[in-house]
Structure formats: structure tokens, C-alpha cells
């Protein structure tokens, strides 16, 4: 079940410079495991050790935040697109 994954600029060192990679999985959790197998070190930039999404990261399936779907259990289908979007905040 190939899915396109959009890689943000800071993570492209791990994907050998690729801005988009293909990975497989029936759901987001499986997709992240496949990504880690292909690009070691990528998953820890996206997930906490317990597998939950890091607070600095949002994952979008097509145009929807997976937190508003079934989170890591969100099902994927052929030609879906997953984007890794940073959570940006600050101030003084």
C-alpha cells in the first residue's frame, strides 16, 4: 500500500536529501515503522519513545491532521499523501 510522505527540510538529512519518499503501511503506525526501516533515525524525530506523536510535530493525511482522525491507527490507502508539518510557537 504505497503512500507518499512529504519530508520537511530539517529531516532531509535522514532521507538522503529526498523531499518526498514512498513507504507502506495499513495505518500511520505501520507507515512510521516502514519509514524507520528505510531511513533509520526518522521515527525518533516524529515520535516519542512510547510511540506517540511528538508535540513539535503534526502529521497530515492528505489535508487532515491525524489527531482529528484515529491518530496512529488512522487507516491509509493507495496514493494517500502524508505530510510531516512542524508545530511552530514561541514568544518571550
Amino acid at each position: 500500500m504505497p503512500v507518499k510522505v512529504r519530508i520537511p527540510t530539517p529531516l532531509r538529512k535522514i532521507t538522503n536529501g529526498s523531499d518526498e519518499v514512498a513507504a507502506e503501511g495499513r495505518n500511520v503506525a505501520e507507515l512510521l515503522s516502514d519509514l524507520e526501516a528505510k531511513f533509520p533515525g526518522l521515527k525518533e524525530r516524529i515520535c516519542e519513545p512510547d510511540g506517540k506523536l511528538r508535540r513539535f510535530v503534526n502529521l497530515y493525511l492528505n489535508d487532515e491532521d491525524i489527531r482529528f482522525k484515529k491518530n496512529m491507527e488512522t487507516e491509509l490507502k493507495d496514493n494517500d499523501e502524508v505530510s510531516i508539518i512542524p508545530a511552530i510557537a514561541g514568544g518571550f
Binding site: 503534526n58 512542524p86 514561541g90 514568544g91
Partner: protein, 149 residues
């Protein structure tokens, strides 16, 4: 590639994008503004566009900002269609220096450029860009070079 004294390459920003960022910071005063920087290059970073986005932290808009990830997603998508990338983000510090705060560091992410525009009394501006090289590192300044198209 031009390096500054610390060995880090500068962040090149086209003048129109740079001026727009400063104008946004002045217009938003006394609130914080924020935006997304789009350009090309991973090591030799060149910003061609600065996109205004809404500060969604309306409760503390004077000293905090938050960007809706949907806006980043939309800007990233249009950047990609033009062969460009999101290189970083900017925000303003009303009546506060152009240096990152502890709160900025708490939310800072490796690899992006974080431009901070200080606006004193609504008119005097100063600008610096900051990067984090490694997850446990502090912010370090990267020199800004304003360029003509």
C-alpha cells in the same frame, strides 16, 4: 559560499521579503506577528518569499505566537509547486530584543531558520536570525544578508 565568523553560512533574504516581514511586525505592534519563510537551498539558504500567517495565540498575542499547522501545510504545498521549500519562520518581539527567549528555545526545532524582528515603540526595528544545530544546543545566530532579486 560566504561564511560568517562563526563558520555558519548566512541566511540570504530578498529585499522585498525582508521589507514585508518588517512591515508586518510594525503593523502588528503591540502584538506579536508571525510568518513563514519560503525559498531554496538547504545549506545555502535563500528566502524569496515571506508569508504572513495569523497568530493564533489570541490570549497572549503581546508576548506569544502560535502558527496554525494548516497554514504551514498550505504554504508548503504551494511552495512545492514552485520548486521551493519552507526554510523557516519569523515572529516579532514587541518592545523586546531580537534574541530568542527561553520559550522560543523550548519550541525551537533543528534545521529551521527563526527570524526575530524586534519592534521598539512601534517603529524602531532590528532583526536577527537564529538556528539550532542539534536538539540539545542553544540557538546560535546566523547572519542575515539582504539581497536584490
Amino acid at each position: 559560499m560566504l561564511f560568517n565568523i562563526t563558520g555558519r553560512p548566512p541566511l540570504y533574504i530578498e529585499k522585498a521579503a525582508y521589507d514585508e516581514m518588517l512591515l508586518h511586525a510594525k503593523e502588528a505592534y503591540p502584538h506579536e506577528c508571525c510568518g513563514v519563510l519560503v525559498g531554496s537551498g538547504l545549506k545555502d539558504k535563500r528566502v524569496f518569499q515571506s508569508h504572513r500567517v495569523k497568530n493564533t495565540n489570541t490570549d497572549r498575542a503581546k508576548d506569544r505566537y502560535n502558527i496554525d499547522p494548516v497554514e504551514i501545510h498550505i504554504i508548503d504545498r504551494s511552495a512545492r509547486a514552485e520548486g521551493l521549500d519552507v526554510l523557516g519562520f519569523y515572529h516579532s518581539h514587541p518592545d523586546h530584543p531580537d534574541r530568542p527567549s527561553e520559550y522560543d528555545r523550548e519550541w525551537g526545532q533543528v534545521g529551521y531558520s527563526y527570524v526575530i524582528v524586534s519592534v521598539m515603540n512601534g517603529k524602531d526595528v532590528s532583526v536577527k536570525s537564529w538556528v539550532i544545530a542539534d536538539e540539545k544546543d542553544p540557538y546560535k545566530e546566523e547572519k542575515i544578508k539582504v539581497t536584490e532579486p
